[in-house]
């Protein structure tokens, strides 16, 4: 057994354990620590490891979801960092926390890392909260809601003839269908595309089914470098390529129908170097899946979002990391040999991360 040689970086690092809490519209009994604690316990139990085995800990979260500063500080109590640990935090989706951990693992000083992310969309008005992300001078004061912004992007796609409302509905129907096999998903049902197309517009051209659900959840993964990965899992999900890129924040300066940052990241991560079996894409709105899929260059043979994807469960700050955990799970269970995971951050796919995971054949 030997790990495939990575395209980016020098040291093979694998996702070896993954846990997530069920995505729910509202987790109203447990606070963030209590939502996270069982997930951390599970990710360790699955790996037969403890916090004492971790060389590094990195998390992703954002204060504006909870409406108070330092939400990551309290969350750290779910791990119990005593004795003191080497630990860091990104104010980004936890997929980027995984990237930070992966970078450190490249140096060969540490072999293991715990990565987690959590978010409750239910505490505030998410659409209004996300308007706080916009340029504070020219856009923020207008308080545009995220559905209307996504509708601008969908319109750009339709007007360019790059997709159809029919395709949006097919993506939603497929996501809900696949989510029936995912106990952690939130929107799970069997519904004909024709029926979805009868729904009224939320914001034209977006019908309700093209919108992600509002979700509360947490997720965690464990990364292990080198041969130690085989002690944890029979068929490690090796990260053979990973990269992320950001675009300008000014919507007017971007072609919203394409994602150049995703395309760049996919190229550097080496997606095109071999066939892809499955991809977990983080385009929270149905039209965004079309854009991301096109940018990565995935053809019709690739199974997209077997977990149900973000249209079935979209916990902020964790949904990107969940894509990586779900893709890794397909490698572990043998249903895929080469998988792609994608994460996005910022308004209208401003920032994107692409990761290629491979198992030995």
């Amino acid at each position: 057994m030997s790990a495939p040689k990575p395209v980016v970086g020098n040291r093979p690092v694998a996702i070896c354990s993954f846990a997530q809490s069920p995505s729910l519209r509202r987790v109203d009994q447990a606070n963030e620590v209590e939502m996270l604690m069982p997930v951390i316990a599970e990710v360790f139990a699955k790996a037969n490891m403890t916090k004492d085995d971790m060389g590094f800990i990195c998390s992703g979260s954002t204060d504006y979801l909870i409406g108070g500063p330092f939400s990551f500080v309290m969350a750290l109590d779910a791990v119990g960092v005593w004795p003191p640990k080497s630990e860091s935090h990104v104010e980004m989706d936890a997929a980027w926390a995984l990237y930070e951990a992966w970078v450190q693992l490249q140096e060969g000083v540490i072999d293991t890392a715990l990565v987690y992310g959590f978010g409750k969309s239910s505490l505030g008005d998410l659409s209004r909260v996300l308007a706080m992300q916009l340029d504070p001078y020219t856009m923020g004061p207008l308080w545009p809601d995220q559905v209307s912004l996504a509708a601008l992007q969908a319109r750009a796609l339709l007007d360019r003839g790059l997709s159809t409302e029919q395709e949006f509905a097919e993506i939603a129907a497929r996501s809900r269908h696949d989510a029936l096999k995912n106990p952690n998903a939130q929107v799970r049902n069997e519904i004909p595309v024709a029926e979805l197309l009868e729904e009224a517009y939320a914001v034209s051209p977006l019908r309700r089914h093209t919108l992600p659900p509002l979700s509360d959840a947490a997720a965690a993964v464990i990364l292990v470098a080198g041969d130690r990965a085989y002690d944890v899992v029979d068929r490690p999900a090796w990260i053979t390529g990973i990269d992320h890129r950001v675009e300008t924040h000014a919507f007017g300066a971007r072609d919203l129908a394409v994602s150049t940052s995703t395309a760049m990241a996919a190229k550097i991560a080496g997606v095109g170097n071999g066939p892809v079996d499955i991809a977990e894409l983080h385009g929270p709105f149905a039209p965004q899946e079309v854009i991301v899929r096109q940018a990565i260059g995935l053809d019709d043979s690739v199974t997209i979002n077997p977990s149900g994807g973000p249209l079935a469960a979209n916990p902020m700050m964790a949904a990107g990391l969940i894509r990586m955990g779900e893709a890794a799970s397909r490698i572990w269970d043998g249903s895929a040999t080469r998988a792609v995971a994608h994460a996005t951050s910022g308004p209208l796919l401003q920032q994107n991360l692409v990761c290629v995971l491979e198992g030995e054949s």
Partner: protein, 390 residues
Amino acid sequence: MTERCAVIGIGQTYHKAKREDVSIAGLVREAARAALDDAGMDWGDIDAVVVGKAPDMFEGIMMPELYLASALGAVGKPMLRVHTAGSVGGSTAIVAAHLVQSGIHKRVLTVAFEKQSDSDAMWALSVPRPFSAPLLAGAGGYFAPIIRAYMHRSGAPNDVGMKVAVKDRLQALKNPYAHLHLPDISLKMVEESIMLWDPLHYLESCPSSDGAAAMVIASEDVAESTSKVTGRPPAWVHGTAMRSEPTMFAGRNQVNPQAGRDCAKDVYAQAGITNPRQQLDCAEVYVPFSWYEPMWLENLGFCDEGDGWKLTESGATALDGGDIPWNCSGGVLSSNPIGASGMLRFLEAALQVRNMAGEHQVEGASRALGHAYGGGSQFFSMWVVGSDKR
């Protein structure tokens, strides 16, 4: 393996209570442009950008780095945003260093900032929660009882904190970027300033500043080739470390936290330091309240536990005549753009070993410590830089 890396470009803003002449984008560009100029580089030479700042609520913008992507020349590049409370300026530099040490990138721009005047930090820190008493005591109210505990344990005389306050402000007079320039500073002036949080006087506390800090961190080959062109030496990174412990737990030593001791031990081991007072030429240490100098002297192993105040009192930590000068730049007590404060410590340490600190230069400094801490002293980040490779 860990590749060598070095600081080859340094920039900072003029720190002030209110920088009304620039937007946030203008503020970060002022520091970043200066760092690029120092490195002899332009925006296009940079491979990746790492941004750090304290809570987003300090400015009232969620993930402000998204809107700053263009201003920081990050478009088309990887950009990371770090947030580890008050230690963030240090952790951000460390994340940037790892991007080079891992061999992933060769030229990384790292920027940290706070524009406190754009919002109200005190408000941001005081969101009412049912489990906290409605006391609104601020950061000083949090740290003052811990300082009192230190004074009790160590038996330090009451005026040690005031001596630190004077020393750091005198040193700030030699730093044109410092926010506070108090030419008349004296023990009497500190003592007569209002007692904000007994035992802390007003002049024993840090100001609230707008400001930004930036560095270009490069790989060994890039550092050597650019240095030949610019004629300015690199500051080689000898070690980096981060440590966290829980915010509150039974038996927690808040005066001398274990995480700080562990972090120092780790960074010293990487840098080959066994006696920090002897082997380091100076240190830039996060001292937002005067008494944290003697407390961190002990925590960082510059002396035995209980003896920190004696070092301060003897003048050992003064730029003028001390054997181990601390905060020659004036430190956090003289400039505190919160998110950038930690990076300023890291950056000032690098300036010293590059022999580029100007009037506050420690003569012949070749090895220096940069230190930051955050939260309720549960998050630490540190690095050691040197004028020689290690």
